[in-house]
């Protein structure tokens, strides 16, 4: 078993799943001959043909809507949003339509469209190619939001996502595409939704992080080991609905919690996790629940100095953990 990157994990799994299930097709801007702007669908147009790898017109609203229509019919559409930032025109179709078909028909209809979106910053993308969108969509019951962050998790959860009978927003941190490598067996294992993963066992504090920030956190935790600070790192993996139990039992054990994300602080995913902890683990808390997040500005600036200022990283996380540890 050899190491693969996050992007290879996605491409390989998409290929395998499309070979397995003829109901799967993929559509999005430039996914065909071009193989997608990140090259996730490279070679797939050639293998599966233009009926299953469909260059869409430049229109995200209908891209998602078309996915919904095909899903209602019984197919398993995969919709690629070129950058997560450009999912906004499809907000109405995702929130009011995809996420509500099951509930509004009391289970008669359902719309299992899988929406893939590369998100996150640190790549010089400026305001509109760096956004984190998970909080906006994690507020929506009926829509799974998942953000697996290692090749192993990506393979297992993408396989699972293609068998789930509800709409899924599948978030891929674009900076980790080629940065993060890991092992992912070639058999057909799956990782279920709504199960967080303890990426590092520790006793002093709990950090909840996903995406690029998971890796920054693991680095910070490594660093703190030398200071005899022992950090537990929880990767929620599914962001909506959250695996409350895993988060709460960790915090009950450690008594201290930090949540990290790139998205801006206010009403970012950290808000819900902090609220959950403040409500359900209150008696076990030894310190304030802390959050390290992007600042409350409209989006991440382009100039590298300002981008670095915006982005949380291992050092900022370590600093916060030292503070929390000292509380």
């Amino acid at each position: 078993m050899s190491e693969i990157t996050n992007i290879e994990a996605i491409t390989r799994t998409l290929q395998q799943e499309m070979r397995r299930d003829p109901r799967i097709f993929i559509t999005g801007e430039d996914v065909g001959k071009r193989g997608g702007v990140f090259r996730v669908t490279k070679g797939m147009y050639e293998e599966f043909g233009e009926a299953r790898v469909i260059d869409s017109p430049l229109s995200e609203l209908s891209l998602v809507a078309v996915g919904i229509g095909a899903a209602l019919y019984g197919l398993r559409p995969i919709v690629e949003i070129q950058f997560a930032d450009f999912i906004a025109p499809a907000f109405n179709q995702i929130v009011q339509e995809a996420a509500r078909f099951r509930y509004r028909t009391n289970g008669d209809w359902h719309a299992p469209v899988l929406i893939r979106a590369p998100y996150g910053g640190g790549i010089g993308g400026g305001l509109y190619h760096s956004q984190s969108i998970e909080a906006t969509y994690s507020h929506i019951p009926g829509l799974y939001v998942v953000a697996p962050s290692t090749p192993y998790d990506i393979v297992g959860m993408l396989r699972y996502a293609l068998r789930v009978d509800d709409p899924v927003l599948f978030l891929e941190h674009k900076k980790t595409y080629r940065l993060i490598k890991g092992e992912a067996p070639d058999d057909d294992y799956m990782i279920p939704f709504c199960k967080a993963d303890i990426k590092r066992v520790g006793s002093d504090m709990t950090v909840i992080a996903y995406g690029l920030m998971l890796h920054e956190t693991l680095q910070a935790a490594q660093e703190l080991m030398h200071e005899d600070i022992n950090v537990e790192v929880i990767d929620p993996r599914t962001l909506n609905p959250l695996d409350r139990d895993t988060i709460l039992s960790s915090v009950k054990k450690t008594g201290k919690a930090l949540i990290v994300h790139e998205d801006n602080l206010t009403l970012g995913l950290g808000a819900e996790i902090a609220a959950l902890i403040a409500s359900e683990a209150f008696a076990d808390l030894d310190a304030p629940v802390m959050r390290v997040a992007g600042p409350d500005v409209p989006a991440m600036p382009y100039a590298r100095t300002m981008q670095d200022f915006f982005m949380p990283n291992a050092q900022k996380i370590a600093d916060a953990l030292r503070k929390l540890n000292a509380y």
Binding site: P57, A65, G69, A70, Q93, R100, R102, Y103, R104, T105
Partner: protein, 347 residues
């Protein structure tokens, strides 16, 4: 200027009645008339129930029956799919939704089969009838219908999708994007616009800078066809042609049925603030139910006794549905929690 042009029946045999020329059996024509009548009586009862404060809200299809019944009969049942909109009472009734279901929705009672009494009335849905769930935001169904048509094309079936919407809804981006996909991929989908002249209080010239919705069709490389939506036979003809075209793999059509909303927008509306009574009265002369009745009588399909029998039967059905729904219990409160998520696959 545009591809759109009024459909006219080609009288190949001028001595035959139009429906005969179209290959429509007398029985079927009468059945169509019956569904129009039943829908109208059901709809009228809903207005009454609202006035009596028995129900909180009604949005009506009165004036739309001819086009709708034609659509229902033009589709291949259990084979084709429909994405209707909130005025499609007659259409969905003719396709098999029951008066009891409609009435359960009016009262918001347990057992309402379309949404489990979660949606407001007129949000039609029935998976077993290939009727896709209506939602309230307008025009969202249009690109969804294109998506389902894409799936059909991909599966190489000879199914078609139809979707209905008002002329006001063509101002939404969803309309544009949905028709754009359909045109580019030559999808088997029929866009049926029920142009009733108003979007709540807005007349058509506030929704578009063209005379007809069908004038928008050439922008998507598809034909636009205008027809008299008050005439059930002409409607049937136009819709059938579009469906056949789609089934032959020749792509989508934008149909525009010209008609009039004979009643206020909904039970919350007072249309006297924005349109004259004279205008409404003038259109009442073209009430599709009256025209259909006249057609049936003139072609010897219906006599007074028959009509009386129809009315009697309609009254019984409406009474039954009303009573059934009125006496039904409300859903248990906690049912609000069900059906958010499907069952997750076991590993």
């Amino acid at each position: 200027m545009t591809l759109s042009s009024p459909t006219k029946l080609e009288l190949t045999a001028p001595t035959l009645a139009p429906h005969v020329q179209l290959g429509l059996h007398d029985d079927l024509v009468l059945e169509m008339y019956w569904h129009m009548l039943l829908a109208r009586r059901l709809d009228e009862r809903m207005w009454i129930l609202h006035r009596q404060h028995q129900v909180a809200f009604h949005i009506s299809g009165i004036g739309h029956e001819a086009t709708q019944v034609a659509a229902a009969y033009a589709l291949k049942r259990g084979h084709d799919f429909i994405f209707p909109y909130y005025r499609d009472l007659c259409l969905t009734l003719a396709l098999g939704l029951t008066p009891r279901a409609m009435m359960l929705a009016m009262y918001g009672k347990q057992g309402e089969p379309m949404s489990g009494a979660r949606q407001m009335p007129a949000h039609y849905s029935a998976r077993h009838l290939n009727i896709v769930s209506v939602s309230s935001p307008v025009a969202t169904q249009i690109p969804q219908a294109a998506g389902m048509a894409l799936a059909m094309k991909y599966q190489n079936t000879d199914q078609v999708v139809m979707t209905c919407f008002g002329e006001g809804s063509t101002a939404e981006g969803d309309f544009h994007e949905g028709l754009n996909w359909a045109g580019i991929f030559k999808l088997p989908v029929i866009f049926l616009c029920q142009n009733n002249q108003y979007a709540i209080s807005s007349p058509t010239d506030r929704e578009m800078a063209v005379q007809n919705v069908a004038d928008r069709a050439p922008a998507y490389g598809m034909p636009g066809v205008i027809f008299d939506g008050n005439d059930f036979i002409e409607s049937y003809h136009a819709i059938t042609q579009a469906i056949e075209r789609a089934r032959r793999g020749e792509g989508p059509t934008l149909l525009e049925a010209k008609m009039y909303r004979l009643v206020p927008h909904s039970s919350d509306d007072d249309d006297r603030t924005y349109r004259s009574r004279e205008e409404v009265e003038a259109w009442k002369q073209r009430d599709p139910l009256l025209l259909a009745r006249k057609y049936c009588v003139e072609n010897g399909l219906l006599d007074d006794a028959h009509q009386a029998e129809f009315e009697q039967r309609a009254r019984e059905i409406v009474d039954d549905a009303d009573e059934f729904a009125r006496n039904a219990p409300y859903p248990p409160p906690e049912e609000a929690l069900n059906g958010v998520w499907g069952e997750l696959p076991k590993i």
